[in-house]
C-alpha cells in the first residue's frame, strides 16, 4: 500500500497531432487505473502535481529514457509550444521537463519562457546523465553533459524556480545535492544496463536512494522514478523513497 503522505508525481504527455488535446495522468497511485485521455480543460480541473514532458509523447514507456536524449525531437521547442498553446492551463503542472544542455536555449531564456507560462519548477529531462563510456566522454569534452544540466538548474533556482534533478548514479546524486536541487529523483535506468536481473537494478536504485537520503540528512527529498520495466520490482521502494514518480503513459489505453 503506498504511503499517501509522500509525494507522487507523474509525467503528462502531449500528442502533437492533437494540439488541443492532452493526455494527462495524475499522480494518485490508488486511482491510477481510473485516469484516461483528458482534455486541456480537464487538466485545469485536475488535482495533484505533475511533470510535463511533451517531447516523448507516444513513445514506448519502456524505451522513453533511452530515446529521450536522441535527435528525434526538439525537446525544449515542443515544451514551449505546449506551454504557449492558447488553451494552456498550467495549474496541474509543477515541473516542466527541459533538455537543460540545449545549446540553442540558454538557461536565462528557458527560465523566462517558463515564468511566462506560469511554471514554477524545472527538471532535467531528457538528460545526458544516462550516457556512459566514450560517447559520454566525447560529448562532455564538447560541453554537453550532466554537469551542464545542473548548471542550468542552479541558475533556475537562483531565479526562484524549484528544481528537480534526475540522477542516474551516485556521482550525479552527490553533484545534484551540491547543486542544491530542491529534490532529487533516482532514475533506475542507469542500473538496468549492468544488472543481470531486474531485481538487481531495483535493489541498486533503492540503495542509491538510501545513500542519498543519508547524505542529504533529510534536507533534500530523494524521490524514485518507478521505471516501467521495474514496476513490480520497485514496489517495495515506495516505503523508502520520499516520493515516487510514475510514467503515466504506461497506463494509456
Amino acid at each position: 500500500m503506498p504511503n499517501l503522505g509522500k509525494s507522487y508525481f507523474t509525467f503528462s504527455v502531449v500528442l502533437p497531432q492533437f494540439e488541443s488535446d492532452r493526455f494527462y495522468f495524475p499522480c494518485m497511485p490508488k486511482q491510477i487505473h481510473h485516469y484516461e485521455l483528458a482534455s486541456t480543460a480537464w487538466i485545469a480541473a485536475t488535482q495533484g502535481p505533475c511533470f510535463l514532458l511533451p517531447a516523448m509523447a507516444g513513445l514506448d514507456p519502456e524505451t522513453v529514457d533511452l530515446l529521450g536524449c536522441l535527435p528525434i525531437a526538439n525537446a525544449n521547442a515542443r515544451l514551449i509550444d505546449c506551454l504557449t498553446a492558447p488553451d494552456w492551463q498550467p495549474e496541474a503542472v509543477e515541473f516542466a521537463c527541459v533538455f537543460a544542455a540545449d545549446p540553442f536555449y540558454d538557461a536565462a531564456q528557458l527560465v523566462e519562457d517558463l515564468r511566462t507560462a506560469n511554471i514554477s519548477g524545472i527538471a532535467n529531462l531528457p538528460s545526458l546523465g544516462i550516457l556512459d563510456g566514450r560517447f559520454a566522454e566525447v560529448m562532455s569534452a564538447s560541453g554537453f553533459d550532466f554537469q551542464r544540466e545542473l548548471q542550468c538548474l542552479e541558475f533556475a533556482k537562483r531565479q526562484g524556480l524549484r528544481t528537480t534533478a534526475f540522477v542516474w548514479n551516485e556521482q550525479q546524486g552527490i553533484a545534484g545535492l551540491q547543486a542544491h536541487a530542491d529534490q532529487l529523483v533516482v532514475h533506475p535506468g542507469g542500473f538496468l544496463r549492468h544488472a543481470r536481473a531486474p531485481e538487481e537494478a531495483a535493489s541498486a536504485a533503492v540503495d542509491l536512494v538510501k545513500q542519498l537520503q543519508q547524505l542529504s540528512g533529510s534536507e533534500t527529498p530523494i524521490l524514485l522514478y518507478r521505471h516501467p520495466t521495474l514496476y513490480h520490482e520497485l514496489a517495495a521502494a515506495t516505503d523508502i523513497a520520499d516520493g515516487i514518480i510514475i510514467y503515466a503513459d504506461q497506463f494509456q489505453r
Binding site: 525531437a73 556512459d132 560529448m139 564538447s142 560541453g143
Partner: protein, 603 residues
C-alpha cells in the same frame, strides 16, 4: 506517381555507375546548407549528403550536436534538402536518414524522400557513433543498429542508392546482407581543439582500423569510403584512402566549418587591419589611446579589461600580488602598473628575477650580507628587501625559488622581518611584494614542489595575463602601439603594415606572446625599405610566412628560465663588458667569472 521497378533500378545503377566512373578519389560533401552544397559541387564534389550535423556546424556547434534532442533530424534534413539543395545542384543528393524514432514508418518516409528527388539514403545520425552500455541498451531494445540495417534493406527495395555508416566489421557484414552499395568507415567525430572533440586515433592507427572494418565488404561491387576522426584535411584524406586502398572520403567539418572559420577569420582580420592602417596613416591621436589603455596594458578583450580592473582595485593596497601568465604576456608590465598605481611610486620599483641568479647567490641578493658572512664578502651589502623598503619588490619567476628561501620569504611576507646573512640582527622592510611566474604554481603547491602556505599567502590576489593567442583580436591594437614606438626608436619612415602582413600576424600562434610580436615588428621595421611593412618583410628574415615567424628570444612558454650563461651575459651587457664590474655585480670573483665565460664560450 508510381515508379516502375525497372525505372527504380535504372536510376540506382546510373548513380552508382557515375560514382564509379569518377577520376581519382571520390569526394562526398556532407552539408547542412545550400551554400555549402553549391560551393562543394563547384569544387567537384561527387555527391552531396544532407545531414543535420551540417546545419549545427553552420550554427557554430560541433557535429556531435546532431545526436542531441535539439531537433528532429529527419525534419531538418528534409527542410534543408528540399528548400536549399534539390534542384539547385546536379550532383546526386543523399538523405541522412535517422531511424532512431521507433514510431517512424521507414518505408513510407523512404517513398517520400525518393519522390522529392533524393537518390539515396545514409544511416545518419547513427548509433555507430555510440559506444558503451548505452549503445547495448539501444540495440537490445531493438531501436539501435537493427533499425539502420532495416533502413538500408528498405531503401534498396525502394531502388535508392544505399550508403551505410559502419564502425566495425560486424556492422559492415550486417549492412552487406541488407544490400548496401556504399560503405563509409566512420572514425568518429572529427577531432578538433575548437569543439573539444579529443583525437582518439592518429592517422597511422586509423589505417589498420579502416582495413579491419571494411574487410568483409571489400569486393568489386562495393564503394568504400571513410570519414571523421583524425582526418582534418584533404592531405590526410588522400593519405588514408591510398594507404587503405579505398575509393574516397566524406567531408563534413573539414569541408565547411574548419575552412569557413579560417576564411571568415582572415577576411575579418583583413578589414580590421586595413582600418588600423588607415587610422595610423591618418595620424590618429595616440595620447587619447594611452588614456584609454592605462599603464600601457593594451587590449579590448574581456580578459585584458579584467586585468586592468584588477590592477585599479589592487594597486592602492599593500596586498601581495601573484601575477601568472606565459612568458612575454606582460607580467612585468602589470607589476609596474601595480607600483605606478600605488602611493609607493615615488621610489623606483626593485626587480629581481629569481631564475636569473644562481641558487647560492639568490639568498644574498634578497637579504643582503654582513662582512665575513662568506668567502669574498668583504663589506656589507644590503639586499633587495631593504632596497625596496617603502617601494615595491617585484620577484619574477617566483616558481624557481628554492624551498629554504620560500620559508624565508614567507616570514618576510608575514611580518616584514628578516636577517642579513651573517647577522642575527632583525631588519624590517616595508616592501610591497609582487611576484610572477610562468609556471603552474597551484599544481606545484599541490605536488609539494612549492610551499602551500607561501602559495596561499601570495595568492591573496592573483592576476592572470592571457596569452596573445587567446586575445588575438587585440593584435591590431598592439601592432599600432608598437609601430608608434618603433617609428621613434628605429625607423621614422614606417607608417603601417599592409593587410596581407596583418593577416599573417593574425594567423600566427605567438608562443612568445606580446614580446615576440614586438621583436617581429622591430626586425621587420629595420628591414622594410618603404613606409608600409609587407608580408615579404617578415619573409626576408627567412620565415617564409607568419605561421613560421621565429623569435630569437627565450619566449617560448616551454623555455626554461634564464640559464647561468644568460645571467652572465646580462651582467656583461649591463656593465658594457667590463669584467671586473660584471664580476662584482654577480658577486663572484673575476677569476670565477673568467672560468665561467670560458666554459660557455663567451671569450
Amino acid at each position: 506517381m508510381q515508379i516502375s521497378s525497372n525505372a527504380k533500378s535504372s536510376m540506382r545503377e546510373s548513380v552508382i555507375g557515375r560514382l564509379r566512373a569518377t577520376d581519382g578519389l571520390l569526394f562526398g560533401a556532407a552539408v547542412g546548407s545550400g551554400l555549402t552544397a553549391h560551393a562543394a559541387e563547384q569544387g567537384g564534389a561527387d555527391f552531396i549528403l544532407v545531414l543535420n550535423a551540417g546545419k549545427f556546424r553552420m550554427a557554430g556547434l560541433p557535429s556531435l550536436t546532431c545526436m542531441l534532442p535539439v531537433g528532429a533530424s529527419n525534419e531538418i534534413v528534409t527542410r534543408i534538402g528540399r528548400a536549399e539543395i534539390l534542384g539547385r545542384v546536379s550532383a546526386p543528393v543523399f538523405f541522412g536518414f535517422c531511424v532512431l524514432d521507433p514510431r517512424l514508418d521507414i518505408g513510407a518516409r523512404l517513398h517520400e524522400i525518393r519522390r522529392w528527388g533524393f537518390v539515396g539514403v545514409a544511416n545518419f545520425p547513427t548509433v555507430t557513433s555510440i559506444e558503451g552500455s548505452y549503445r547495448q541498451m539501444l540495440d537490445s531494445a531493438g531501436i539501435g543498429f537493427e533499425r539502420e540495417v532495416e533502413l538500408i534493406r528498405a531503401a534498396r527495395e525502394e531502388g535508392m542508392v544505399t550508403m551505410a555508416y559502419v564502425s566495425s566489421a560486424d556492422e559492415a557484414r550486417s549492412m552487406k546482407a541488407a544490400g548496401a552499395d556504399i560503405y563509409c568507415a566512420s572514425l568518429g567525430f572529427t577531432a578538433s581543439t575548437q569543439t573539444g572533440v579529443p583525437a582518439r586515433l592518429n592517422l597511422f592507427q586509423a589505417i589498420p582500423l579502416i582495413d579491419q572494418v571494411l574487410k568483409p565488404v571489400r569486393n568489386a561491387d562495393s564503394l568504400l569510403l571513410v570519414e571523421g576522426g583524425p582526418i582534418v584535411g584533404s592531405a590526410e584524406a588522400v593519405q588514408v584512402c591510398e594507404a587503405c586502398g579505398i575509393h574516397g572520403y566524406i567531408g563534413g567539418s573539414t569541408l565547411d566549418r574548419l575552412p569557413l572559420q579560417a576564411a571568415v577569420r582572415a577576411t575579418t582580420a583583413g578589414f580590421k587591419s586595413l582600418s588600423v592602417s588607415v587610422r595610423t596613416a591618418a595620424g590618429s591621436n595616440r595620447s587619447s589611446q594611452e588614456d584609454y589603455w592605462p599603464w600601457g596594458v593594451i587590449g579590448r578583450a574581456p580578459s585584458i579589461r579584467r586585468v586592468i580592473h584588477q590592477i585599479q582595485r589592487v594597486a592602492p593596497t599593500r596586498l601581495p600580488v601573484l601575477i601568472l601568465g606565459e612568458n612575454g604576456t606582460g607580467k612585468e608590465l602589470v607589476a609596474r602598473a601595480l607600483h605606478a598605481g600605488s602611493s609607493r611610486n615615488r621610489r623606483d620599483m626593485v626587480i629581481l628575477n629569481c631564475a636569473a641568479i644562481p641558487r647560492d647567490l639568490l639568498e644574498s641578493e634578497l637579504f643582503g650580507y654582513e662582512p665575513g658572512a662568506f668567502t669574498g664578502a668583504t663589506r656589507r651589502r644590503i639586499g633587495k628587501f631593504e632596497d625596496a623598503h617603502g617601494s615595491t619588490l617585484f620577484l619574477d619567476e617566483i616558481g624557481d625559488l628554492e624551498p629554504p628561501l620560500q620559508a624565508k620569504l614567507l616570514r618576510v611576507l608575514e611580518d616584514g622581518r628578516f636577517e642579513r646573512i651573517g647577522s642575527n640582527v632583525l631588519q624590517y622592510t616595508d616592501a610591497r611584494i609582487v611576484c610572477a611566474t610562468n609556471r603552474d604554481i597551484r599544481k606545484m603547491a599541490s605536488q609539494g614542489l612549492f610551499r602551500e602556505d607561501l602559495y596561499y599567502r601570495l595568492c591573496t590576489m592573483e592576476i592572470e595575463m592571457p596569452p596573445l593567442r587567446d586575445r588575438i583580436g587585440d593584435l591590431p591594437l598592439l601592432v599600432q602601439h608598437f609601430l608608434h614606438e618603433i617609428r621613434a626608436e628605429l625607423n621614422p619612415n614606417i607608417d603601417a603594415i599592409d593587410e596581407e602582413a596583418m593577416q599573417s600576424l593574425l594567423a600566427h600562434k605567438w608562443p612568445g606572446n606580446v614580446r615576440e610580436l614586438r621583436h617581429v615588428l622591430e626586425r621587420a621595421a629595420v628591414l622594410c625599405s618603404g613606409s608600409i611593412i609587407g608580408r615579404d618583410d617578415f619573409a626576408l628574415q627567412g620565415t617564409g610566412h607568419a605561421s613560421s615567424i621565429q623569435t630569437t628570444h627565450a619566449d617560448s612558454p616551454s623555455k626554461s628560465p634564464l640559464t647561468e650563461k644568460e645571467w652572465i651575459l646580462n651582467a656583461l651587457e649591463e656593465t658594457h663588458y667590463h669584467r671586473s664590474k660584471a664580476a662584482q655585480l654577480l658577486g663572484v670573483s673575476r677569476k670565477t667569472l673568467y672560468n665561467k665565460m670560458l666554459r660557455y664560450g663567451l671569450l
